[in-house]
């Protein structure tokens, strides 16, 4: 049992000379969280699902458009207002669900399994853990969104070529929309990480996230139209839509404002998560 090396010979306590000088740093916590993220099978599977959703649903939508065009439904509003960006990024609505679930798992999963006790015993200052998780998952979701959006659009233009909706990468606003799609997924991912940490429950985190993205916009229809016009655009889901839409409608934010509004929601969620992480017992 003396394999633990002779570094603490004698009844000495505390940092003794001759012992390796370990130290917790922000960079190391990021490295550790990076290793933790990729060492779980659920991360790979969920990211795979997100890519499939992102590509498959966009391409199906592109294909459906060409079918409708060829069948002569040219005056159908679905066909009339369509553009290659909107069609190809249709999968984003579904990809965001997979990204959101994984984001919640990144934090709330630690509470449901008990891993959080090991994590916080290693980093008792706690906040670096939250920042690292948000940073890593935001970056992963951003890259996934960028790659997914460019691929979907790239293949999409092939499917749509010759149609009225066809656009090239060089068309005005296209690159901005595709990059914003990545930014949108990154912010949704960070929101999910924050909600998981705030609620400490996988089911609760997913429910709140899905409710915010899918149910709240529907609930807005219960309010008077003037309210809807003024308030709806600031909801996370609508602000997000504005980010990557090629053309903005009336009563929607500009892409930049959409980004700022969604970033503000994300910051709010992170602040709540940070508050609870520091204040309550783990």
């Amino acid at each position: 049992m003396s394999t633990v090396t002779a570094t603490t010979a004698g009844p000495t306590t505390g940092p003794t000379t001759g012992r390796p000088a370990y130290r917790v740093t922000m960079g190391r916590v990021v490295k550790a969280e990076w290793a933790k993220f990729w060492s779980l099978r659920s991360s790979w599977i969920t990211l795979g699902v997100a890519v499939v959703f992102l590509l498959a649903f966009g391409l199906i939508r592109d294909w459906r458009y060409t079918v409708m065009m060829n069948a002569g439904h040219v005056h159908d509003p679905e066909v009339l207002d369509a553009n290659a960006v909107g069609l190809s990024l249709f999968g984003l609505n579904f990809g965001q669900l997979a990204v959101g679930v994984l984001g919640v798992l990144v934090t709330a999963g630690e509470y449901s399994t008990g891993m959080i006790r090991s994590t916080l015993a290693a980093v008792p200052r706690r906040l670096p853990v939250l920042w690292s998780k948000a940073l890593i998952f935001g970056a992963v979701a951003f890259l996934l969104g960028i790659v997914g959006a460019f691929t979907a659009f790239g293949i999409g233009t092939g499917i749509l070529s010759g149609s009225k909706a066809a656009l090239g990468f060089g068309a005005p606003g296209v690159l901005r929309s595709l990059i914003m799609a990545g930014a949108y997924l990154a912010l949704i991912g960070i929101c999910a990480v924050a909600l998981g940490s705030l609620l400490r429950s996988v089911a609760g985190g997913i429910a709140v996230l899905m409710g915010t993205l899918l149910l709240v916009p529907g609930l807005m229809e219960l309010f008077p139209t003037s309210w809807q016009n003024n308030v709806s655009q600031y909801l996370p889901s609508h602000a997000g839509d504005s980010m990557y839409a090629l053309h903005q409608d009336v009563h929607t934010l500009s892409a930049t404002s959409g980004l700022l509004v969604l970033a503000a929601w994300t910051a709010l969620a992170l602040a709540g998560a940070a508050y609870r992480l520091v204040r309550s017992d783990a």
Partner: protein, 320 residues
């Protein structure tokens, strides 16, 4: 070195830990003993900063745990067996903890070897048996080569081989000069490993003592002696600190404060024939129950009084 000063944890009306004062010193194994729900785990969670103290303080090697720049090097803690993600392999679990401190990969391999996990290190930790999970928790505790090792109920659910392994590990760590702090609700287990004991009940400190002293305080080592002339033996043995009891008409005496060897020699010196001479050691388990009886009964347990009256059923399984 762990120092608790007036350490208190309240959950609303309930006080889980009530003004605890104690010091855990390096170089020995200190047992942290108390019935279930006595506040042992809460105290340990406060030591590593997972729970914050309602009032009072606890420091490790002179500072609060969170204030150390390399906490895993100060305290290695095994809190509950399930402080892992079941989907991660043992190696990846340990490695991710090591990365936060810049602990080299070599050290990760070292603790895996030390805890005998080589063959399962790449398997999902969720599939581990209780014993393997416990070993993984201990590997994590030893990762930072910590000056203080703190284990919460490490032998719970282990097979005899595992229990023996933990026992040797603990004494080995203490012999290396480390501070070893181990909680248990099993007095019989503590009797075999701990030198020093901190006993708590309902969050309050009941005793801060050595194993020997605890036994002596709660009845001590009684020697039963039967002789041909109990009255004369009484006179011979009488002295300061010696207590002798016996029923009149019976040839049996019960002596505390003298070793069996001394009694035998004195009897021989005065030519008193002895028929029986035996040390009736109060089991540590009994001493413990004596100490915590009030605190356990408060919880409405009915099993304790029975176990208390039953003479030294050793080793008694559980206090509750």
């Amino acid at each position: 070195m762990i120092v608790a000063q007036q350490l208190t944890k309240r959950y609303g009306e309930k006080t889980a830990v009530d003004r605890l004062d104690f010091t855990v010193k390096p170089g020995t194994v200190t047992g942290f003993l108390g019935p279930n729900g006595a506040g042992k785990s809460t105290t340990m969670r406060m030591i590593v900063g997972l729970d914050s103290a309602s009032s009072g303080s606890v420091t490790v090697n002179g500072r609060r745990y969170a204030e150390h720049s390399a906490p895993l090097q100060e305290v290695g803690a095994l809190l509950e067996a399930k402080s892992i993600h079941p989907g991660r392999s043992a190696f990846n679990h340990l490695n991710s903890l090591a990365l936060t401190h810049g602990i080299p990969r070599r050290r990760v391999e070292e603790v895996i070897e030390l805890t005998g996990l080589q063959s399962v290190a790449r398997k999902r930790a969720g599939a581990f048996s209780l014993g393997m999970g416990q070993r993984l928790g201990i590997a994590a505790a030893l990762l930072g080569d910590p000056a203080t090792v703190m284990l919460d109920e490490p032998v719970n659910g282990l097979d005899p081989e595992g229990v023996l392994w933990i026992r040797n590990l603990l004494t080995g760590l203490a012999a290396e000069g480390r501070t070893v702090f181990v909680s248990s609700h099993l007095m019989s287990e503590m009797a075999l490993t701990a030198d020093h004991l901190i006993v708590v009940g309902r969050g309050r400190l009941l005793a801060d003592t050595t194993v020997k002293d605890l036994i002596r305080q709660s009845g001590g080592d009684t020697v039963k002696v039967a002789s041909s002339d109990p009255a004369r033996l009484r006179e011979v043995l009488a002295g300061p600190g010696v207590e002798i009891t016996g029923r009149s008409g019976s040839e049996e005496l019960e002596v505390t404060g003298l070793a069996a060897r001394t009694i035998g020699l004195k009897a021989a010196e005065h030519s008193i024939a002895l028929f029986e001479l035996s040390t009736k050691g109060v089991s540590l388990e009994q001493a413990f129950m004596e100490l915590t009886r009030d605190d356990v009964e408060y919880h409405g347990s009915t099993t304790v009084p029975t176990a208390h009256h039953a003479e030294a059923v050793e080793p008694v399984g559980s206090a509750v």
